[in-house]
Symmetry: C2
Subunit: 501 residues, 2 copies
């Protein structure tokens, strides 16, 4: 068989399993939006049944043989494949295949059964405020993660193997180099900012009807660049975005009638994720060049829209007249200045998901440090509750009132997501670094955004990030887009400038 024919066969297979994977995404979306609640048990079985078929296809001997055929003795893609896009595609498929077959299927199954049990134990522990209920599963989960790391392989720390699952090429050294400056610089900022006076506005219940908020967000998503025939928009408990294909992306949001900001900024955030997926290059559909680069790059796209644009003053200058018109009473006695001060107020919370953009990174730094120490066996899971509170006090100056708002607050570990948290803050750093390049390229961006002309933002992100798919790792992509390697400075400068620090 010619190498080109091996390549074609590989792509045929890749298209097929990607197509089935997109069905898994639909199962997930449906479950979180429109599925009747009683359907949930069977939904679990459907997801497992489909995952089994996808695994068989991706880890098949035939795929292994095709890949072997496409690599030379020096473990590089064979010279006979000359098209550079095809070479990248083969590399990425091989990367996924290697990662997949390194994990024994028994371990994958063990993890799946452990996490489905652990999630309910975690929920119970959080509800009852008792760490002991979840402690045995938490220990097992970290033991299993260490085992996973051994199978996956690493150079320096087993934690690197876990990070790599969400962001290929990432190491704990790289993360630490980006996170340490945050820990050092942010705490004093937060002290200063928390002390500044700015009474938060209490709009009271029933100020913002859900249908009106939905209407507003639909217009917002369209203005951001989402084509109405290519996406839908639903409400859900925890906002998320899933993509079925670039022509069918599905951002969601959650609305409260006493809080306009949460729903709108969540829609903005999920809209950023949606645009990334919608702008992927369909010329390469079914291959890694029509996939997102990494979870942290994905998060950079949502945070670019949510933080850099959605919490900028020109954004609200544009939106405010419409809000006054649409919702009337709640805004009657409130000026844009007052409302904007309310939006950008810095106020440490013990709960990560309630954190603002200045305090948020320290929640992640804390989790990163604890995860790394656990995986490297410097500490044990039973040390977590005390260490958590200690670090929280040291970084944010506050202590959780109880364990449910402390170490038990997040679902992630119970779901087996260890090494995942750093992507949130890496995304924030990348977003602000991209924003720095963006503001230099478009010096009149504030005028444009205030005038409601947002198309150029989407165009720029599409050309700078989206269109590359998985061609580059996060580091390389950010360097390519901004001219410099990832750094925490852009974020720190952004905060300093924004808050006159």
């Amino acid at each position: 068989m010619s190498k080109q024919s091996a390549y074609d066969q590989l792509i045929e297979r890749s298209k097929h399993w990607k197509c089935l994977e997109s069905i898994s995404a639909l199962l997930e979306w449906d479950q979180e939006t429109v599925m009747p609640p009683a359907g949930s048990d069977y939904r679990g079985e459907q997801k497992a049944a489909l995952a089994e078929e996808i695994y068989k296809l991706k880890a098949s001997k035939e795929v292994g043989a095709l890949l072997k055929d496409l690599f030379d003795a020096k473990r590089g893609v064979t010279d006979e494949i000359t098209n550079p896009d095809q070479r990248v595609i083969v590399e990425r498929i091989a990367q996924d295949y290697d990662e997949l077959i390194k994990l024994p299927i028994e371990l994958v199954k063990k993890k799946s059964s452990l996490t489905s049990h652990a999630v309910s134990k975690w929920a119970q522990a959080k509800k009852e405020g008792k760490f002991s209920i979840f402690a045995p599963q938490l220990k097992e989960l970290f033991d299993l993660a260490r085992e996973e790391a051994e199978h996956l392989g690493y150079e320096k720390s087993p934690y690197d193997a876990l990070l790599n699952q969400y962001d290929h090429g990432l190491t704990s050294e790289k993360v630490a180099a980006l996170f340490n400056p945050l820990r050092e610089s942010l705490s004093p900022f937060i002290e200063t900012l928390s002390a500044r006076e700015c009474p938060l506005i209490d709009f009271g219940p029933n100020s913002f009807s859900e249908p009106e908020q939905i209407k507003l967000c639909k217009e917002l998503l369209q203005k951001m660049g989402l084509c109405p025939t290519r996406h839908n928009f639903h409400t859900t408990n925890h906002p998320f975005c899933l993509s079925i294909c670039p022509n069918d992306v599905r951002p969601t949001s959650h609305f409260l009638t006493d809080n306009l900001l949460g729903g709108v900024l969540a829609a903005c955030h999920e809209g950023g994720h949606a645009l990334y997926e919608a702008n992927l290059n369909t010329k390469f559909r079914g291959t890694p060049l029509c996939e997102f680069a990494s979870l942290s790059i994905h998060e950079s796209q949502s945070l670019f829209w949510e933080n850099c644009i959605g919490t900028s003053r020109p954004f609200w200058e544009h939106l405010y007249p419409q809000l006054k018109e649409q919702f009337k009473t709640p805004f009657e006695a409130i000026s844009l200045d007052q409302f904007y001060a309310h939006i950008v107020k810095v106020c440490p919370s013990t709960i990560r998901i309630y954190a603002d953009r200045v305090t948020y990174p320290l929640h992640i730094v804390l989790r990163f440090e604890l995860e790394k120490m656990l995986i490297e066996k410097e500490i044990e899971t039973e040390d977590l509750p005390a260490l958590w509170d200690e670090k929280m006090q040291s970084y944010l100056g506050i202590t959780p009132p109880n364990i449910s708002e402390g170490v038990l607050q997040d679902i992630h570990w119970s779901a087996g997501l260890i090494g995942y948290f750093p992507t949130y803050t890496l995304g924030l750093l990348y977003a602000t670094q991209l924003f720095d390049t963006f503001t230099r390229k478009f010096p009149d961006w504030e005028t444009q955004v205030a005038a409601g002309n947002w198309a150029f933002i989407n165009e720029w992100l599409k050309e700078t990030i989206h269109t590359h798919g998985r061609r580059f790792d996060s580091d390389a992509l950010i360097t390519h887009a901004t001219g410099t390697a990832p750094s925490a400075n852009y974020y720190l400068n952004y905060i300093k400038t924004h808050y006159n620090l």
Copy 2:
């Protein structure tokens, strides 16, 4: 391997492919309700990719070997399987397997590619009113159906093989025995009924807001017996119902603001389908005993609710005060008598989907006769337009004004559904036969329905039909439920009584 272990392995496999099939149902439901329109091309690929995997699983050598193991030399289920439920399950799985492997995969693929092309040709032909645009595909479709019939096998007519795909055990002789009395008796009824005076009520545009109609239908579905946590309800262009599992069934409807009846009766119809699926016996989940018996039995359940209950006078006696309350103005000057006369008015239409319960069967008789003659090569596809109009004039006394409202009106043939139409009218005959038993068992049914107590209807249908799954063929099930073999008399008597003929 013991026979019991072969049985267990077969069930394991059946559960797995049924689970994947339920995902296909979700792909379909999503496409027709909430999917962004641009997602449709990729949805086609998703359906094909999943169908490919399901086919591989169902037609696998392993399934063939297990079945072989479970049957004895006399082609009966082995005596070593003693549990009667298990014996039926094995029989039904073998029946499906035989049918599946009889069709060469090339033919299945050819049909799939032909129909996807033919549907768009049909749509164009209907739009432009030109039979010639669709004629070549129509000929190919009937040629292919004949080829299918040869592979599937039959005793007397190749058309029997096609009927069997939708209703196992059905023959054209049986259908003709049920349909001939309709053709003979209905035409004179229709002549009499059309002559009776009853001005239809024109409610005018915007009389019935969609949200209010949705609210009404949701209450209706709940009153019929659908549990709110186990179903959802969406609007769509062409009402349908799909089931993901008995805990997740999804009836839909379509609403017009000038016509309350269409949306409400469609919801009632789809609710009947939904209750069948919701009431299947989950003890047998993943096996044929947790599947519907046949398409015609399915239709009997929707038509029992739509026709026998939903167009009964006590049903509207119950609903009318609520309608007056909810929609106000349109009903101000209209009495229940007037409204009910409007509901049950008989008025021949050239369009099947606009037909009432008296004229509808003749639309099907016409299609059945034409399909049978085509498959048996008594006529050619080019003879269809003239024959269609001739039969329409003879059975209903009307002639289509153009070919788009004549032979081109239905999508079915272009989608490869040949032998499907009869199930609609068989369903109606079964529904009225069941209704006859029902009214004798519950002599006070009218009082109960008028009082809004409908739970006993659902309970009776569950116990009489739903709980049996695919244990019986349609004939046997109706005989079991009513004490007599299927007959057209119940329907004809029902019409005679209802309309004082």
